[in-house]
């Protein structure tokens, strides 16, 4: 099994790890770096629970090999909250009553973050598209859409 040195910037801090070629980014985050906020729901790119941001773009960490992420900036859910509390998107998810079991939530929050960074004033189509490929078995999605809308409105209001 070949091993490779991989350097990532995880939530702003540089990290170097030696990993086997077949290790996924999700495995390295969860098992190697104890960042367990990204969840495994399917391990096959079907559910979105493992979503993290790679250079600002949402990716399925279960489908990305750690070696592919070499040199990239990785943002996980743990990196979003500041010491003083949740970031505004997280707060919007709380206020919109969007969490139930919570297993899908880190993925949706990060998808929302990537969307709002790209499009501060998203249409409903944008929101549904950004949520596309993310499954939630609890909420029925409407409160999740509302959370993203709320976050966008609050950002616009400054």
């Amino acid at each position: 099994m070949s091993r490779h040195l991989v350097t990532l910037t995880v939530n702003g801090a540089p990290v170097t790890r030696e990993v086997e070629a077949h290790r996924t980014l999700l495995e390295v985050l969860r098992d190697g770096l104890d960042l367990i906020g990204a969840k495994e729901g399917c391990g096959a790119g079907e559910c979105g629970a493992c979503t993290v941001l790679l250079d600002g773009m949402p990716v399925r960490a279960c489908l990305v090999l750690a070696v592919e992420a070499d040199g990239c900036a990785v943002a996980t859910i743990e990196g979003l909250a500041a010491a003083r509390g949740p970031d505004p998107i997280q707060q919007a998810f709380i206020d919109a009553g969007a969490t139930q079991c919570g297993y899908c939530i880190p993925g949706f929050v990060l998808a929302a973050r990537a969307l709002l960074d790209r499009r501060p004033d998203p249409t409903d189509d944008d929101i549904v598209r950004a949520c596309g490929g993310h499954l939630c078995r609890c909420t029925g999605y409407h409160t999740l859409f509302e959370a993203v809308r709320l976050a966008a409105r609050r950002r616009a209001a400054g």
Partner: protein, 802 residues
């Protein structure tokens, strides 16, 4: 009057942990020296295990143990103990574990699995309930007669029947003979998969002292404790089961699934934590499935549309092991008629062993399964007597009459305003009985005509009672702290339903303190937590509410006794209100809660009373079913409601689009209205999956063919974005109840499938007697009808169809 905490939509107590990723689930746990287990599963639905060659695997690096069923000689099960932790001699479903490896890493365990060789001799399999019932069918459990069975359960050795529940009232033969109109139809609600986002998992360890410690991703830690303690012959105090947040349960984690096997493997590696986390495919093939019912319905009616007789025969394909399925049968059975009065009836519900994964609880526990059939049948009956489906239902409602349900319980209007629910839903979806209502509805944009699209409306009633053991106690502990804050300690699992928030609200409301002063610790440890039977059946908030009221009663008494000493007056003169103890008639003599709840300290330093720590418990009055009639107190609280849909069917593709979905449920009192509504909408979408897209499909060898989230189609964001959801929570007071809430959780999923199927029939004139109404099935049915009748009547309500 002061704002009460019950009835307000306070934010969820667990929301912050969940949005920050701080919340821990079972797969997030790890311990030093932890070992990893992986399983080898049977590819055959039914096979004799001839030989297992495991020596090569055992010799591989990192491997600590390799086990086959023979190495784990224990029995698992509650009411019917018919399962082993792993198959012994016979594999009874495709996906059943036949060998396991415990190794220092997942990779090492997986590599060793590859080195195990199993020789099978395939046996004839039964995959369907009817095939399992047929004379001469292969037996899934030839040794059924030798199993340990609790009283009240009726397996029939020499057949595949593991239980037969029935309930009778009046004389159904005479009733049907007298009926002017008889309507008969067969229905099916096939198997579904829970597909909680979190897979099944467990960690277990045998300590050097011989204690068994378990971290379970399970809804019911105390049930897991009971099952594994019974299996291994351990006293309860030598087993501790810890439970935490669940990434969704929906019934799939309510009994033990992976826990007995994980514990059995941990016995082979004493002192080490053994971790077994299923992957997605394994959760499909190797945990429990839901539903799997067939039913034959025969109703007798008068010409004027009164139900007079009902003859119902239900069969469940219960899978290879029955102990997680067996109690679904009475629920499906006695609810199998829906909330209507029928004087002469007979309902049979038989569970069949089949060579498929075991069936377990699935959101609604038998109720959605049989009520799908009942509510479709109501539409067929209404049509047979030429009545409007709403009027027909209203005419036959149980609650209005104060008559008896199949169990012999009198149900009157205090059980909930079902008539009000029906009217609200009918209004929402344009089935209002008044012409103005319909016109108003049709003027709205969603009903605007489009080419080759048929619009239809349908509704269905729902009713549900918690299906639980007669002694299914819940307990709660109130622990008052030095500053007057309160810990409310409870073993009910938070799996997304919001129960910890509801518990905090109920406690705050009863103790009359701000909700911020109440803390509900997350997580259960059977060593420290007060007993709770199971977090299932929509019962937790309802049961806990009553237990909290009982506990508060005791706490109040203690507080008053301490305050009486402090004031130097008789206890009878001390009262409590809003965090203050005071002398009745002289409110200037008052002490705040915090000065009393940890004992009162006199100015000279001596203390009286003590830290208040009280437990309260609750169980409703329930009995076993009567052997002769099947009647009894099997249902202890009812929640009634109605659901309706307006759908569009694309006549060219068969695609069903839900335009509007309305639910009205009488919840007694909504503890947290926003959470309750969110719960209903979540359940509706869950139900829409089963109605429109989800079904377990089987390959030629009896294996699940669509064991992935791509192939098993749960609703996606795109699927539901356009649906206009309406939720009405009605609040008919519950007489004599300290909290006033009725059960609410699964209810939003109970009547979704029949509402959709009734709406599709209304739109297209095509009747479906099973689900899902996937586009290709609807398309084929439309084609078949077109082929049969060369010049059909245009589909009813088709708008602009050419």
């Amino acid at each position: 009057m002061e704002q009460r905490c019950i009835g307000t939509s306070v934010p969820r107590v667990d929301a912050l942990e969940k949005v920050t990723g701080e919340a821990r689930y079972v797969a997030d746990l790890s311990f030093p020296g932890m070992l990893h287990a992986k399983l080898l599963r049977s590819p055959h639905a039914h096979a004799r295990i001839v030989r297992i060659e495991k020596a090569a695997a055992a010799a591989m690096p990192g491997v600590h143990a390799v086990a086959t069923g023979k190495d784990l000689p224990w029995w698992v099960g509650e009411c019917i103990r018919d399962q082993r932790p792993m198959a012994v001699e016979t594999a009874r479903f495709a996906g059943e574990p036949v060998a396991a490896v415990v190794a220092s890493s997942e990779d090492a365990a997986l590599a060793a699995l590859e080195a195990i060789r199993v020789d099978y001799e395939p046996l004839p399999a039964v995959l369907d309930a009817r095939a399992a019932l047929a004379p001469g069918a292969p037996l899934v459990h030839p040794d059924l007669g030798t199993y340990h069975v609790l009283p009240g359960f009726r397996p029939s050795p020499g057949t595949n029947v593991f239980h037969h529940y029935f309930v009778k009232a009046g004389d159904v033969t005479k009733g049907l003979a007298r009926a002017a109109v008889v309507v008969e139809q067969e229905y099916e609600f096939p198997h579904l998969m829970h597909t909680a986002l979190e897979n099944h998992g467990c960690l277990a360890r045998y300590t050097a002292g011989g204690r068994l410690e378990v971290h379970a991703g399970a809804q019911s830690p105390f049930t897991v404790r009971n099952v594994v303690a019974e299996a291994f012959g351990l006293p309860r105090h030598r087993v501790s089961v810890r439970g935490g947040y669940l990434g969704g349960g929906f019934g799939g984690k309510s009994d033990a699934t992976v826990e007995p096997l994980t514990c059995a493997l941990a016995r082979l590696c004493p002192g080490r934590w053994v971790r077994l986390i299923l992957d997605r495919e394994e959760s499909f093939v190797g945990s429990v499935l839901g539903r799997g019912f067939r039913g034959r319905y025969r109703y007798g009616l008068t010409r004027r549309g009164r139900l007079v007789a009902a003859d119902i025969d239900l069969l469940m394909a219960g899978g290879a092991y029955s102990w997680t399925a067996v109690n679904i049968l009475p629920c499906a059975g006695h609810n199998g008629i829906g909330p209507y009065f029928v004087p002469d009836l007979e309902i049979h519900a038989r569970g069949l062993y089949t060579n498929t994964p075991p069936v377990g609880a699935y959101r609604g526990y038998g109720h959605p399964d049989s009520q799908f059939m009942a509510e479709r049948h109501m539409d067929l009956c209404a049509r047979a007597v030429g009545m409007d489906p709403v009027a027909f239902r209203l005419k036959n409602l149980l609650g209005k009459s104060g008559k008896k349900n199949p169990l012999g319980q009198r149900v009157d209007s205090s059980a909930g305003d079902l008539e009000g629910c029906i009217k609200l839903v009918a209004q929402d979806i344009g089935m209002a009985t008044s012409p103005e209502g319909i016109r108003a509805r049709e003027a709205e944009p969603s009903a605007v005509s489009r080419p080759a699209v048929a619009v239809g409306r349908g509704l269905a009633c729902l009713m549900k009672s918690p299906g639980q053991a007669t002694n299914a106690f819940t307990t709660v502990v109130l622990k008052f702290n030095e500053d007057g804050t309160v810990h409310v300690i409870s073993a009910v699992s938070e799996m997304g339903q919001g129960v910890h928030t509801a518990i905090a609200q109920i406690a705050a409301d009863l103790i009359e303190i701000p909700v911020e002063k109440v803390y509900v610790p997350q997580g259960t440890d059977t060593d420290y937590s007060p007993y709770d039977w199971q977090t299932v059946a929509s019962r937790a908030t309802w049961m806990q509410g009553r237990a909290i009221a009982a506990a508060w009663e005791k706490a109040r008494k203690e507080l008053r006794a301490t305050a009486a000493k402090a004031f130097g007056v008789p206890v009878a003169k001390v009262d409590y209100r809003r965090g203050t103890l005071f002398v009745r008639g002289d409110e200037s003599r008052a002490l705040p809660l915090e000065k009393v709840c940890h004992g009162y300290v006199f100015p000279d330093g001596h203390a009286v009373g003590g830290p208040v720590l009280v437990a309260g418990h609750y169980v409703p009055h329930a009995t076993y079913a009567d052997e002769q009639t099947g009647r009894g107190e099997l249902a202890t609280s009812w929640t009634f409601g109605c659901q309706g849909a307006e759908v569009e069917v694309d006549l060219r593709t068969g695609e069903v689009t839900v335009l509007r979905f309305s639910s009205a449920i009488d919840v007694g009192r909504a503890v947290n209205p926003e959470l309750a509504k969110a719960q209903v909408i979540g359940a509706v979408v869950f139900g829409l999956g089963g109605a429109l897209t989800e079904t377990v499909t089987w390959g030629p060898r009896g294996e699940i063919r669509n064991a992935s989230m791509t192939d098993y189609k749960v609703p996606t964001p795109e699927d539901v974005r356009g649906i206009d959801f309406r939720v009405h929570l009605l609040e008919t007071p519950v007489p004599g109840d300290p909290v006033g809430s009725r059960c609410l959780a699964e209810h939003g999923a109970v009547a979704v499938a029949p509402a959709i199927a009734n709406a599709v029939a209304d739109a297209t004139g095509v009747d479906f007697f099973d689900v899902p109404l996937a586009a290709e099935r609807v398309f084929l049915a439309l084609q078949a009808r077109a082929a049969q009748a060369p010049s059909p009547k245009p589909p009813r309500k088709a708008k602009g169809a050419r």
